[in-house]
């Protein structure tokens, strides 16, 4: 062996001339490594692949003309983008390559942005400057980003777009959940514009909870909120029996009665299920409250709490006081003050109290609470941060109870602890934390939510959008959300509107719910007399709607107050209510309007003017429209409905003045006649 080596050495370096030759050869070869690496590089391979792929296509010549070899790069200093992705993703901008299954050659799907303006990594993350697949896509070094899985890509839209977008349902849902599930009660989320994300759930105050319910119920609820109501947003804190016992002891001991609430029964709850069901229906309780039916489906709205087992929760006295006037117990509640009479209160409470579940409290046996238990319960309430969400007398709302999440979407992977078997990526970490928060270490306090996989993905998407880039992007790119409005109507009418909780369903000047029509310009839209009648007896304007305006038993004085206010204050600057008469149009014009109605514009597809022939019921019934709307409103509506009510589903037909006038004449002549009397009944 040694011999052989020696003879080889002799052969190569035996004389100086030969030695020099060999060394130069080695040197040359090493010089060639760099260009060779370049020559055999991945991107070159993909570019070759592209050229042979397009060879068989009919538009090969065009594609070849567009093709540029070598490393390609999108450089956007403003965004900090150096993206070489187009070196391999060659066909990204070729409009004809939509049918290519083979990657990386397919055309980029249609998005509202231009690739040359935003590059790739702003949306997809990954290493833009890299020129190999592995480095570009799956780099996980401490300071580097791997590519974002497609299912979270909407998070990148959220870096600039702070409001909801029609094309990003997942991001919208995630942001909505972040507020609605109460995450932001504990986790602060600041946005680059300096605002903070606000919670939209409304956890009840616990300072008077003893009025409302029993310690047994609190115990059962704490152990498993979803056992009481499948739609409950309260998460499960996985409390031990002893901890639930002590917290319930503390809450009851800490509760002070509300004056005027919880009085003795003024009317005995009546046991008339038929009358109860029909009052529940007439009052449209189901617009806001859900009930789980026998088949297990939850039916009803999600504005107020689910009522499936309400009879096992509330004390009858409290329920009666609440139904009579919820504002006594909870002044800012979104529940309207219905002004039920005694008989109605008795019927409704009887109906609700019958909604019980004998299993719920069957196994709850609590001995009288000891002072130690109460003290321990108070400690637990502080430890678990209950006061982050609930007002609790004597306990301060903790500040920064949980880690701030303002830049969670950029958290370096080196700072994360992963569960076994978990992929080491940030999205997997975030999703894992939401899915099983307590699994990551012993003693963690974050409670267990009952999110579906789709909701977890949506939340993860929303959280990923909270990242460093959203702070470093040029502020000019930021598209802010429509500003929050805290509009409040003034005076006596304003008080009345709060009392009736109009804003739980209606929006006015940007404030309020979206269950019922926006009333910002209601005063320009309707005739005064109609409005008075409507308050007295809310009819069904839109047959296809399941949710309707409830009847509030208003007094004549209250109705006048409301009507005057609406008619004077809620006026649109673009509709002059008195500029067109509500009657006296020429018969010829009415006829022309009728022709347009049934012909050119075929309004009967969605509206009913003649109950005998028309069937459409997407839009409001128009049999009485002439005594409901003002002519000026109808005219402007014909010209451009969206200008009066943004987001309306009525198509904008951009009618000529002549058509609009004729249709106005026809519609304003629809006064209901004899049917009006019948409808009032």
């Amino acid at each position: 062996m040694k011999e052989k080596l020696r003879s080889l050495w002799q052969k190569l370096f035996g004389d100086s001339m030969r030695a020099f030759g060999v060394v130069s050869l080695v040197f040359l070869a090493s010089m060639a490594i760099a260009p060779a690496k370049n020559f055999f590089s991945e991107w070159r391979h993909y570019q070759h692949g592209y050229l042979s792929m397009i060879r068989n296509r009919s538009e090969a010549n065009t594609l070849r003309r567009h093709f540029q070899g070598g490393i390609q790069q999108i450089w956007l200093p403003d965004l900090g983008v150096v993206d070489r992705c187009t070196s391999c993703h060659v066909g990204l901008k070729e409009p004809t390559l939509t049918d290519v299954a083979q990657q990386p050659y397919r055309k980029h799907p249609v998005i509202p942005h231009n690739l040359d303006q935003f590059g790739c990594t702003v949306c997809h993350r990954g290493q833009g400057a890299a020129t190999t697949v592995a480095e570009a896509h799956s780099s996980t070094l401490a300071w580097e980003q791997p590519i974002l899985p497609a299912k979270f890509v909407e998070s990148s839209c959220g870096q600039c777009h702070r409001g909801s977008l029609p094309g990003t349902p997942q991001l919208n849902l995630g942001r909505n959940l972040l507020s609605r599930s109460g995450c932001v009660h504990c986790h602060a989320v600041k946005l680059p514009d300096g605002s903070t994300v606000k919670a939209t759930d409304d956890p009840p105050s616990l300072s008077h909870i003893g009025d409302k319910t029993t310690r047994q119920w609190i115990y059962a609820w704490l152990k498993d909120p979803q056992a009481y109501a499948v739609t409950a947003t309260m998460p499960n804190f996985k409390l031990s029996d002893a901890d639930a016992r002590d917290i319930s002891a503390f809450l009851i001991a800490n509760s002070a009665p509300v004056a005027g609430d919880s009085v003795t029964l003024s009317a005995k709850p009546s046991n008339d299920p038929t009358a109860g069901a029909s009052l529940y229906g007439e009052s449209f309780c189901a617009s806001c409250h859900a009930v789980q039916n026998a088949a297990g489906n939850v039916v009803g709205g999600d504005v107020g709490p689910e009522l499936t087992r309400i009879g096992s929760k509330v004390k009858p006295e409290w329920l009666q006081a609440w139904v009579r006037n919820p504002r006594v117990y909870d002044p800012p509640t979104g529940m309207p003050h219905y002004r039920f009479n005694d008989a109605q209160v008795a019927t409704l409470t009887g109906f609700l109290l019958a909604k019980t579940d004998s299993d719920l409290l069957a196994n709850v046996h609590l001995d009288a609470a000891t002072p130690e238990q109460i003290a321990h319960g108070k400690r637990l309430v502080s430890d678990y941060g209950c006061a982050s969400c609930h007002e609790i007398a004597g306990i301060k709302k903790p500040e920064n109870f949980a880690p701030e999440l303002s830049r969670i979407g950029s958290k370096p992977i080196t700072q994360l602890i992963f569960l076994q078997g978990m992929q080491h990526t940030l999205p997997d970490y975030i999703a894992g934390k939401i899915k099983q928060p307590r699994a990551f270490a012993p003693g963690l306090k974050m409670p267990q939510y009952t999110f579906t996989p789709a909701q977890i993905d949506a939340l993860t998407t929303a959280l990923l959008s909270l990242n460093d880039r959203s702070y470093s992007l040029p502020p000019s790119l930021a598209v802010s959300a429509p500003p929050e409005s805290d509009y409040q109507p003034a005076g006596k009418a304003g008080k009345l509107m709060t009392d009736l909780a109009c804003f739980s369903c209606h929006r006015i000047n940007g404030h309020g719910g979206d269950m019922a029509p926006d009333l910002t310009w209601e005063g320009s839209s309707v005739q005064r007399e109609w409005l008075v009648q409507f308050f007295r007896n809310p009819g069904t304007l839109r047959p296809a709607l399941i949710r309707r305006m409830p009847k509030f038993n208003l007094t004549d004085g209250e109705i006048n107050e409301l009507t005057d206010y609406i008619m004077t204050v809620y006026q649109s600057p673009s509709v002059d209510r008195d500029s067109m008469p509500v009657s006296g149009y020429a018969q010829g014009q009415i006829e022309l309007g009728k022709q347009l109605y049934y012909g050119k514009y075929s309004c009967q597809g969605c509206h009913i003017v003649d109950t005998k022939t028309d069937k459409g019921y997407i839009g409001p019934t128009l049999t009485h429209v002439g005594s409901r709307l003002t002519a000026a409103w109808i005219y402007q509506w014909m010209k451009n409905p969206e200008a009066l009510r943004p987001g309306t589903i009525e198509p904008n037909r951009a009618m000529s003045d002549e058509d609009a006038r004729a249709l106005t004449a026809f519609l304003i002549s629809q006064k209901g006649g004899g049917q009006q009397e019948a409808a009032k009944k």
Binding site: A150, Q423, A544, G605, G616
Partner: protein, 243 residues
């Protein structure tokens, strides 16, 4: 040189395969029974967004030769790379069924899912199910459809939206009805959506949306119509299947 290039391809393919297979379940399930057929119970032909979980799980059932449910049969799901199943394999429950949550791949288009089980002779019995992934544009189109079009074009009512279909003198077509809609060119669709039924000599019950919707909105609606049509439209792009 060519060989080197193909060597690199092979290598990267192997790397890719390795990184894909990392996630596969390590515990092998042992079937306790074998069926004769595998059928779909629910969850086919759903529309999901690219990369995201389908709204409903895919449920399949394994039957014996008499059509009775088989408990304990092994069902395995497979599809093009990028599609994930949770779980990817499972034993049928007491009603002979297996349910899996499916997340489609990152590209918009049709995905073919294969559910397979073994029969008594240990031969593979397969069932193919199709799902549709919507990209950004189609998702936008779907939203616009739900807001403006679905009430007339979809005969089914939901709790939130009562259908108007039965009230229309001239019946529109559901956008899934490929036999009709595939015959209309993109230009025709643009015309009827923008200018209403009369643009194609059809009923004025189809309103004109050109003043309500932007051009991009109309294109998004067309992309959606193309994506969901059944039979598939040619312009809906490739079908992603297991290869």
């Amino acid at each position: 040189m060519n060989r080197l290039a193909s060597g690199i391809t092979l290598l990267s393919a192997a790397l890719l395969a390795a990184s894909c297979s990392r996630k596969s379940d390590s515990v092998a399930l042992k079937p306790t029974a074998f069926g004769a057929a595998i059928v779909e119970s629910s969850g086919g032909k759903q529309f999901g967004q690219t990369g995201t979980s389908l709204p409903q799980p895919v449920v399949v059932q394994v039957n014996d030769p008499q059509g009775g449910a088989v408990t304990g049969a092994l069902v395995e799901f497979a599809a093009a790379p990028g599609v994930t199943f949770d779980p990817a394999s499972a034993l049928t429950d007491s009603s002979g069924q297996v349910s899996t949550n499916v997340a489609l791949g990152g590209m918009a288009g049709r995905y073919q899912i294969t559910a397979s089980t073994l029969d008594k002779a240990r031969k593979k019995v397969e069932l193919k199910i199709e799902e549709i992934a919507l990209g950004y544009q189609q998702t936008l189109g779907r939203r616009l459809n739900e807001q403006y079009c679905d009430r007339c074009h979809n005969a089914e009512s939901t709790a939130e939206r009562v259908s108007n279909y039965d009230n229309l003198e001239v019946k529109p077509h559901p956008f899934t009805e490929g036999d009709t809609l595939n015959k209309l060119s993109d230009a025709d669709l643009t015309a009827i959506i923008t200018y209403g039924g009369p643009a194609l000599n059809k009923s004025a019950l189809m309103p004109a949306w050109g003043n309500t919707l932007k051009k991009a909105d109309v294109q998004a609606l067309i992309a959606y119509i193309r994506a969901v049509s059944d039979p598939p439209s040619r312009s809906a792009g490739p079908v992603y299947a297991k290869n």
